[in-house]
């Protein structure tokens, strides 16, 4: 590796030469000339980053300290929004139902994904099968939600026809208070299980074959090989998958927005839907921003915890 500092010194006379010769030896002239070119190349992305990532992040914190109904100008009110949050039972309810949703969604999704990945590895490497499992992930949340809204319809949906056929009573999946959140979780598990399985499967390909062979010679059964080898060795991959899926799961919105819209009563009024309603439906933009700050904080803490607990940085393979 040639460091830029070293090459700046050696190439100094060249750099003072004509424009043409400088360009022709740009690899050696290092530092200065490439900075200007680099700035040119990252300029659009940098603008996008500053305008639509950094600026709104800072502004989001600012809005959370204001009273703002989208029409006038934001009025600074300090931490009033957060004080109000503490007493807002709908907010705590939203937090609670979201948590319930996340636990169900991630719990089932992760277990099923690992199961499918192990099955794929043992049974077949078929691209066709992997493609089929990926299908639900390709369609939008909105379509998945509407499709299951129909399949789980109380009157004539396929699922309830099936329940009747095996002699059980019908279930109002989206309308029953006890079933609404599990149903939302199910729809999203259905959409993501194949995709997550492929991620886990990809992680499992990094485990060298000889590890399994050695275990098998030592008389280890498939079952214990899974617990002793597979699971510990895909831990870093699993940690990354968990961070990504948990973060995504907390921001569930589409499924709720096109089916129950928060009902029945408040059982599916998840946190992002509540933010949406406050900020855009009820003109309390500052208050909505305050809730999004809380969500941001929760996600940051959770991500840090997961990475630490699962020691994502280190691999047992090393």
């Amino acid at each position: 590796m040639r460091g830029p500092v070293v090459s700046t010194n050696t190439a100094a006379p060249v750099a003072r030469g004509s424009r043409r010769s400088r360009a022709s030896t740009s690899r050696n002239s290092g530092g200065r000339s490439e900075l200007r070119i680099a700035l040119f190349f990252i300029a659009p992305a940098l603008l996008g980053f500053l305008a639509f990532y950094l600026f709104p992040t800072l502004r989001g914190f600012y809005f959370s300290m204001t009273q703002y109904n989208l029409l006038g100008t934001p009025k600074w009110i300090g931490f009033d929004n957060f004080a109000k949050l503490g007493k807002d039972t709908l907010f705590w309810n939203a937090l609670w139902v979201t948590l319930e949703y996340v636990v169900l969604n991630i719990g089932f999704q992760t277990v099923i994904a690992i199961l499918l990945a192990v099955l794929m590895q043992r049974l077949t490497q078929s691209t066709l099968l992997r493609g089929a499992l990926l299908l639900p992930w390709l369609i939008s949340n909105v379509i998945a939600a509407l499709l299951w809204f129909w399949l789980l319809d109380y009157q004539i949906g396929l699922a309830n026809q099936f329940l009747e056929w095996i002699g059980m009573s019908k279930i109002a999946f989206f309308a029953d208070e006890a079933w609404a959140i599990p149903t939302m979780a199910f729809v999203n598990v259905w959409r993501h299980m194949g995709y997550t399985a492929l991620l886990v499967f990809a992680g499992m390909q990094t485990i060298p074959k000889y590890v399994y062979e050695a275990a098998s010679i030592d008389g280890s059964s498939e079952w214990s090989s899974f617990w002793r080898i597979t699971l510990p060795l895909i831990r870093p991959v699993l940690a990354m998958i968990l961070v990504i899926t948990v973060t995504g799961s907390f921001q569930v919105f589409d499924t709720v927005a096109v089916t129950t819209r928060g009902g029945p009563v408040n059982v599916t009024r998840v946190i992002q839907y509540y933010i949406y309603q406050k900020a855009f439906g009820e003109g309390q933009f500052g208050y909505g921003s305050a809730i999004s700050v809380v969500l941001f904080a929760i996600l940051a803490v959770l991500a840090a915890l997961q990475l630490r607990l699962l020691r994502a940085g280190e691999s047992d393979l090393a």
């Binding site: 022709s24 990252i42 980053f49 809005f63 379509i143 399949l151 995709y195 909505g288 999004s292």
Partner: protein
């Protein structure tokens, strides 16, 4: 000698294990097929329903074939059916501007994809191939944007787009993801890092500047990852709901997902037009499914490598 023996033992064990595990293998296939069925059957039911007559659906709700077969639902969705016919078959009779929403979805997804892939390729080139002070720091800061949840930036971005007077315009919808996403920069940088330095150096000796190197060497050599990223970006953008709902809710900019979202609330108190709804979801999903079937292997292989999309 010892190795041969060891392999022989291992082979024998493996053979024994395979025989012993035959019932296990069958059970594994049963589980796998059950999950495949759970994945595929809803799609088949979607097609079956879309080809049925809505009014006849309750008469035979568990029929595996379309009930009272008709293309009527598709005709309704595509605006080819008269109002009387639509109502007779169980539609709402309200006209759906499906073609307009389809156009809008195409404009939105295509613009985002082209801009994002090109500008992120430029940035990735600077991060992977050029040497400049602060390169890794800036890259790290870019990646930091991954940590901010989209909902958090969506609210202030909405205000920004509103203040710029760009609400309900394609420019406003496209802008936030047009110039960069951290994922796209990261994804392309990984590929650009792997390109051999010698190729660039010989180009530099021939007098090619960075701009020409980027266009004539880096981009042509990276057609595969650029296509993969393009497909993934197009699919994600096509499926977007929240952002277009916020800033593109007028008739002229409404995309398919947003239009589908209101479909349910439009139906009168009675039973929804299920056949029409399923036909509409099918046509909405079609472009993405076609893309997938065309590039299936590439998309499947990219998952796991890319990790987060």
């Amino acid at each position: 000698m010892a190795t041969i023996e060891a392999t022989a033992i291992a082979d024998a064990q493996q053979r024994r294990r395979r025989r012993r595990l035959a019932p296990g293998r069958i059970a594994a296939w049963v589980v796998m097929i059950a999950f495949l069925a759970l994945t595929i059957v809803p799609f088949l039911w979607m097609i079956r329903t879309a080809l049925s007559t809505t009014r006849s659906l309750p008469s035979d709700p568990s029929s595996l074939l379309p009930v009272d077969f008709t293309w009527g639902a598709f005709e309704r969705v595509l605006g080819l059916s008269s109002q009387e016919k639509a109502i007779a078959e169980g539609g709402s009779g309200a006209s759906v501007n499906f073609w307009l929403y389809l156009r809008n979805s195409f404009i939105y997804a295509t613009a985002v994809t082209l801009g994002q892939v090109f500008f992120c390729a430029m940035a990735a080139y600077a991060f992977a191939r050029l040497r400049w002070p602060g390169r890794n720091l800036v890259f790290g800061i870019f990646l930091g944007a991954l940590l901010v949840p989209p909902i958090f930036t969506s609210l202030p971005n909405f205000i920004l787009i509103k203040n710029l007077g760009l609400l309900n315009s394609f420019v406003g919808m496209v802008l936030p993801s047009f110039l960069m996403t951290p994922f796209a920069v990261f994804f392309l940088r990984q590929f650009f890092l792997g390109i051999n330095h010698e190729i660039e150096e010989s180009a530099a000796l021939d007098g090619a500047g960075p701009w020409r190197t980027f266009f004539r060497i880096i981009l042509p050599m990276s057609v595969a990852p650029l296509t993969t990223l393009g497909i993934l970006t197009f699919i994600t953008t096509w499926n977007d709901y929240f952002w277009p709902l916020l800033v593109g809710n007028s008739e002229q900019t409404k995309v398919l997902t947003v239009a589908l979202g209101v479909f349910k609330s439009q139906t009168p108190a009675g039973s929804p037009d299920w056949a029409g709804l399923m036909a509409a979801t099918l046509v909405t999903a079609l472009p993405v499914l076609i893309l997938f079937f065309a590039f299936a292997r590439r998309i499947i292989d990219s998952i796991g490598y890319s990790g987060s999309k």
